[in-house]
Symmetry: C2
Subunit: 183 residues, 2 copies
DNA sequence: CGTTGCACTGCAACGAGTTGCATAGTACGG
DNA sequence: CCGTACTATGCAACTCGTTGCAGTGCAACG
């Protein structure tokens, strides 16, 4: 139900086509809310009939036409409404946790391997966030209001990745005796 | 796709009816993988026709009959297969992050309130986990193999909640000037 | 000149998960 | 006796999201 709102935020920052949105979702916002282009097109259609956005076909040369979506007043009102309502509690949903509980009934060695892979991907993600932070927010103590949300979201991502790494380390210490503290 | 496996783990630990499973999912495992009873019944039916579980109707007095499910060899094999395959990377999906990005377009005061509520619920969850840990694993350095998975999952929950609290604190510091460091 | 890749939009079918409802017996408080 | 709550199972309808496919047209590679 939040995809609509993620798109609204994205369009409030800058008008875009479905294709553009899909690519934005691959890059920044998408690290916290994935969406495929099929889904984006579908939702954009619904949002247009709800009056949250309006579209206009823009011919391009050397490229197919694009349909640029612009947020409407109705869309902005919906965003305000969205932020003023309490977020329903989000519960974790971790297939990895299920796997851990399956330890006594499964392939322990494979699980340990999986933890190592997982640790590495957390590290990579963290490095990516740190890089984005350094690039887009070189002065963290002096961020203008309009950019604060982006910074805070990035911070949330970093904290989550760090927690993920710490978890993997605890698991490895228990399961692998911590022989290889690689990197 | 992991609900099947969560149920398999649960049944591997102890046979149960759909109703029992639903209650277990409300308690321990369910903090990491929620499922409603409707969904559990549906999935149990599919799992039975896949040969992963078998059921037997058990009459009770003073209560409706129950259908007790038992894991089969096929189900155990599936569990091994599940643990030996790499877990696909799980991406965060946070409506709350969307809300943060909506800061410049929405109701900032309401968002701050929401952060406070969220912080409190993280704290409550953490307290609950700490309590479970103290009760079920009084000697964390000496946990038998069959219980290790449960402990590690609990630890993951705690780390995630701590990260959530730290995030909320950073947000409040930025948005509310940190006037009230309540509790 | 053929293949690959990118920009751009979409539909159709499916699977996963939620919400609402149906049913039925027992037990307990008012 | 009536309403409520608990144990117990399940169906139907819906939304959300994924997967697979389809088509066009340009540009670059070999």
């Amino acid at each position: 139900m939040a995809l609509e709102h993620a798109i609204l935020v994205s369009l409030a920052e800058r008008s875009a086509s479905g294709y553009d949105l899909a690519r934005r979702f691959d890059a920044s916002i998408g690290h916290f809310w994935k969406a495929s282009h099929q889904q984006i097109y579908k939702v954009l259609g619904r949002m247009e009939s709800d009056g949250w956005v309006e579209s206009q076909v823009v011919p391009q040369d050397g490229r197919p036409d694009k349909k640029v979506y612009v947020i409407t007043d109705g869309g902005r009102a919906e965003l305000v409404l969205f932020t003023s309502k309490a977020t329903p509690p989000e519960h974790l949903r971790s297939e990895f946790a299920v796997k851990l509980r399956a330890l006594p009934f499964g392939d322990a060695a494979a699980i340990v391997d999986d933890v190592r892979v997982r640790r590495r991907s957390h590290e990579q993600q963290l490095a990516y966030y740190a890089d984005s932070a350094a690039r887009f927010y070189p002065h963290p103590d002096d961020i203008p209001d309009h950019a604060l949300g982006g910074w805070l979201v990035l911070r949330g991502g970093m904290l989550a990745e760090q927690a993920g790494i710490a978890w993997c380390d605890e698991i490895l210490q228990r399961l692998a005796g911590d022989e290889d503290d690689e990197r």
